[in-house]
Subunit: 192 residues, 2 copies
DNA sequence: CGCGACGTTGATTTGCCTCAACGATTGTGG
DNA sequence: CCACAATCGTTGAGGCAAATCAACGTCGCG
């Protein structure tokens, strides 16, 4: 449980009562590799904090191909924001890429938390701002960079993920096919 | 000044003192068409609320091409979120597409506002959440849709912009060249 | 009026995709 | 513990969506 308190402490300070209350709202859960936490078409009921392992959020297009919107490893939050906010069915799947330990904060508990400890408005505002910055950077990258440059950016930004993720998932994240990704990578290794 | 109060009232309720205080933090400004509000490489010091007209946020790539990250018309907010949050130089330009009236909320006033009227944490959290949803949807669209489908989505989502914006700006937003956009459009008009 | 931005159209090129075949690795049930 | 299937990554041939380059008509504006 400690990691999430560190995560919170980066942005707001809590007294022990508030800590107790916050922790009481979290539901621990273990996920096996490939286990689904949220399925396309369902309503997203939880914000998920990752204690260990790795989750991915992705959509399936009309041809059955997977497109990864986000990864979440230790210390990251993940959810289908659209569905969580609107409580409408979303298009996102959330799945464990590897065996993972997570903490779930339900939508209703999150609303309670805002009511009881308004400081959390600030906390989640800041988290959301950071996600927005990352997401907008990705839009800009998609508009202005070649696949090769997007891959280089990805390597700089998430060096640890580059080591651990299967190549097809990196390919999906940066928006190319696994075949093209493989060719691109060998081109880069052979120095251009 | 009323429009911004309506905008705020969608999410939080203020008493008259709070309204006074909030309004006192805003700086009105008129922009001529093509006037720059923020330049690439500068530090973003303001959140901007649009009263009338239209602004755009964009980057210039290494080949000198413009890529539009966001539009903001009446009732919308715009800023270089990365630069605003970190107070580091950003890569975004913000410019009036047409003559515009805006209200500026400086970073320091925004911080004061959070301190004096914590309800605004909630307000901007919700705004940011909505922006994040839109931005993530755009990432998914870029990953999974053809240019034609992205254009269709754009028409559904922003029917008023489709009428008013020059075609090259729509092209830039959805991520194609003006030439290709023109061909695509005439293809669609001639019914496939 | 004349210049510069915009939109259109055509010819050609290219970055990335599709499909297919193949070895290497993983994992899974018998 | 092995056999076999499934998944992953690699490589090659060919195809397509979108970019590039260039030429031209139109229009709004100084």
């Amino acid at each position: 449980m400690e990691p999430i308190l560190q995560n919170v402490a980066r942005h707001i300070q809590l007294n022990s009562t508030e800590i107790e209350f916050f922790l009481s709202l979290l539901e621990p859960r273990s996920l096996k590799s490939k286990q689904l936490l949220l399925e396309e078409g369902k309503i997203c009921k939880y914000s998920t904090f990752v204690l260990s392992g790795c989750l991915k959020g992705f959509t399936i297009d009309k041809n059955g191909f997977e497109h990864i919107l986000s990864f979440a490893t230790t210390g990251w939050w993940i959810a289908d924001m659209y569905s969580l906010i609107t409580q409408q069915p979303g298009q996102l799947n959330i799945q464990a890429s590897s065996p993972s330990e997570v903490l779930l904060l339900s939508k209703t508990n999150q609303d309670n938390l805002y009511r009881e400890v308004p400081k959390f408005e600030r906390f989640f505002r800041i988290l959301t701002e950071n996600s927005l910055v990352a997401s907008q950077q990705r839009v800009v990258d998609n508009l202005s960079l070649s696949a090769e440059d997007r891959y280089r950016h990805f390597c700089e930004k998430y060096p640890s993920l580059v080591q651990t993720l299967p190549q097809k998932e990196i390919a999906s994240y940066i928006g190319v096919t696994p075949e093209f990704f493989s060719k691109m990578r060998s081109r880069l290794l052979k120095g251009r």
